[in-house]
Symmetry: C2
Subunit: 81 residues, 2 copies
């Protein structure tokens, strides 16, 4: 299984994050300095090796899961049955 | 900094995940068995201790970041300057 996190690049404005930040303040949570909102994906895929799985996930992330112009991605892999 | 993953509960239908799964197949990726899509949030917040930070994140997750009826959340904490 791959867990993929897709986040907006640091220099890209994140209005959804700002909205969450404001809502947290409105609910009385203090000390919130910054909120960024991204996507999280879990993918179960077949692969013979971790290297093969990593290569697939890298390509999927570049081609579909993220927009490389404005987003970064990161992932971790773990074996499942 | 807290990294929060919000995912649909297993029994909740995930049309966005199905759409990603179908798109991956259409792009020629084989061996994809399941895709689930969730939210990923990074929050920078002030807290004296990890326990205080964890308590805040738990409450934020329950009250705003997730919908407890249909979603689960998980988080990790790390110290930043």
């Amino acid at each position: 299984m791959a867990k993929v996190e897709v986040t907006l690049k640091k220099e890209v404005h994140d209005p959804q994050g700002t909205a969450v930040e404001n809502s947290l303040r409105a609910l009385g949570f203090d000390g919130v300095q910054r909120v960024r909102v991204g996507k999280y994906l879990e993918l179960v895929l077949e692969a013979e090796t971790f290297e093969e799985a990593a290569a697939k996930i890298e390509e999927m992330s570049r081609r579909l899961l993220s927009n490389p112009v404005i987003e970064d991605y990161d992932y971790s892999l773990q074996e499942v049955e």
